[in-house]
């Protein structure tokens, strides 16, 4: 990584880490020392201070948003290292705290039931070895990724931009599993449930539903591997639903129950939580009432610079690079502007790893004179949808995808 590519904020962290490991060398107590390193997320009006934690099993250094149930954010510099997000730094997001921590692969079973010809109880062996395997790279992004940047601020997980990741998922098609059970005529939706349990008995279990045609589109899959390895438990081991192009709320973790419904699902997590205004960019004015709400669904395009942070001093001819994704389709182009959007230039796209994944992009800056610049980055997806230049707003803090900007100083 070039000098100007080192994150300003991470340098603080590095110093802390260096101090921590020096202390640890003396005391042989590395964990408590690590646990004290902090990051300051630039959330408007704060609080932005978060611990960098290494206390979670199968996970490397993560931004601690909440310990129980875990909300762990990917430190942003990870996205500069490759197009796939490593499993041990892939973000983590759970709703309820009763998460099984002991999964016996011989005992685990996935049930398929409801409006089907025959109820199935599939072992992991049945799934891994009894059905054709498929692969796909896809972005998994929390509906509320970047919520902490909403203004006015809204309650929820106060993420910066790291509640997303891209992985190569290996698994079986949901369609093949449903066909094995035999969906009866009249089915309208399919509901998915994992092993996580609410802490209070009568509270709503976390379940999500997809329309039957979507569930059977041949793309929705049940993954048993992520980047070629079994999923970390906190990312949904042993099975996770993969819904390419849709927000992660549908990607049910530790999936063990599939129910085919013959009427629309009215459960809390589909009907009430995770709904967005049925307006362009899911955007409304703060306080606006009486807006029709619909379940969140397809993702929208986004793009980020990964090798410079806002406030960096850079070379006039510094390399600029980052990642983009189209949302529910591929990336058609990534453009950048050094003059606040008056003119745009095309960045060069990296290898296409599949339309639902991250796409790397790069260019060489040619800043005409020393001084301050505000860089804008904009992705246009293959459906012709571009990132908007004003931020959206809704009360849940969902679907942020405004054109990102970073301030840099040319030397």
């Amino acid at each position: 990584m070039a000098d100007d590519g080192v994150f300003h904020r991470m340098m603080t962290r590095r110093r802390l880490l260096a101090a921590a490991s020096a202390a640890a060398a003396g005391a042989a107590l590395s964990r408590p020392a690590w646990a004290q390193s902090m990051i300051d997320l630039p959330l408007p009006d704060g609080p932005g201070a978060r611990q960098i934690t290494t206390s979670f099993p199968q996970k490397g250094p993560m931004i601690l948003q909440r310990t129980r149930p875990p909300l762990l954010e990917t430190p942003f510099e990870v996205f500069d290292k490759g197009v796939f997000t490593p499993n041990n730094q892939f973000y983590v997001r759970w709703h309820w705290a009763l998460i099984p921590t002991d999964i016996d692969t011989d005992k685990f079973a996935l049930t398929v039931r409801g409006h089907v010809n025959q109820t199935l109880s599939l072992s992991l062996n049945d799934i891994l070895h009894g059905l054709p395997s498929v692969q796909l790279s896809a972005v998994n992004q929390c509906s509320g990724n970047s919520r902490g940047f909403f203004q006015p601020r809204v309650p929820g997980g106060e993420w910066a931009n790291g509640a997303m990741g891209n992985a190569l998922w290996t698994g079986v098609r949901l369609k093949d599993v449903l066909d094995k059970a035999g969906v009866k005529p009249g089915a309208v939706q399919v509901r998915f449930k994992g092993l996580e349990e609410p802490v209070v008995a009568d509270a709503p279990h976390f379940v999500k539903s997809l329309d039957i045609d979507h569930a059977r589109d041949g793309e929705v899959m049940i993954a048993f591997a992520m980047n070629g390895e079994q999923l970390p438990l906190l990312n949904g081991f042993p099975l996770r639903l993969i819904v390419p192009g849709w927000y992660a709320t549908y990607w049910v973790k530790m999936l063990n129950d599939i129910e085919v419904l013959n009427q629309p699902d009215t459960n809390y997590w589909t009907k009430v939580a995770y709904t967005i205004p049925d307006t362009p960019y899911a955007s409304i004015k703060p306080g606006e009432a009486g807006v029709k709400m619909i379940p969140i669904n397809r993702m929208v395009p986004r793009s980020f610079v990964t090798n410079m942070a806002s406030g960096s001093k850079v070379n006039a001819a510094a390399p600029l690079r980052g990642i983009a994704f189209g949302g529910d389709c591929g990336v058609a182009g990534v453009d950048y502007s050094i003059d606040r959007g008056q003119s745009w230039r095309q960045a060069q796209l990296g290898k296409d790893e599949g339309k639902y994944g991250f796409r790397q992009w790069q260019t060489q800056l040619a800043l005409p004179a020393p001084g301050k610049y505000s860089l804008l980055i904009r992705c246009t997806n293959s459906n012709g949808v571009a990132q908007p230049d004003t931020p959206n707003w809704n009360p849940a803090g969902f679907m942020r995808n405004v054109v990102e900007s970073i301030d840099i100083i040319a030397a």
Binding site: D45, T67, L128, Q135, S137, R153, P155, V200, G354, Y356
Partner: protein, 110 residues
């Protein structure tokens, strides 16, 4: 860096077609047993801290609340009621006002 992680199975990566059907895999899963860290963080002491400590730590650790931005009293009231109505938080009715006042004092919008 990514490639180092891959067993033989995934070497034939797929670019243009989203899904490639292949024969059933030789991949195997291994049982997992882990311990998750817990948090013993409490709310900062002050009027109402007992009420919030008693009512708001069952389902999520204090970080959920302490990382929130400043919100209006109305927004905090809505949050506490959401916990009770939507998530079935067992909060005694007489504690609701105390908790809302505590949150507004700690994290009230200016």
């Amino acid at each position: 860096m990514f490639l180092n992680l891959l067993p033989v199975l995934v070497v034939l990566c797929v670019a243009s077609t989203p899904l490639a059907a292949r024969a059933a895999t030789t991949f195997e899963l291994k049982s997992v047993k882990i311990d998750l860290p817990d948090s013993d963080r409490m709310f900062p002491e002050g009027p109402g801290s007992d009420a919030i400590n008693n009512n708001c730590l069952a389902c999520h650790s204090a970080g959920m609340v302490l990382n929130q931005p400043a919100l209006s009293k109305q927004a905090w009231t809505a949050e506490v009621n959401k916990m009770i109505n939507n998530y079935k938080a067992p909060v005694a009715p007489e504690d609701v006002g105390t908790i809302v006042d505590y949150l507004t004092a700690l994290k009230g919008a200016k």
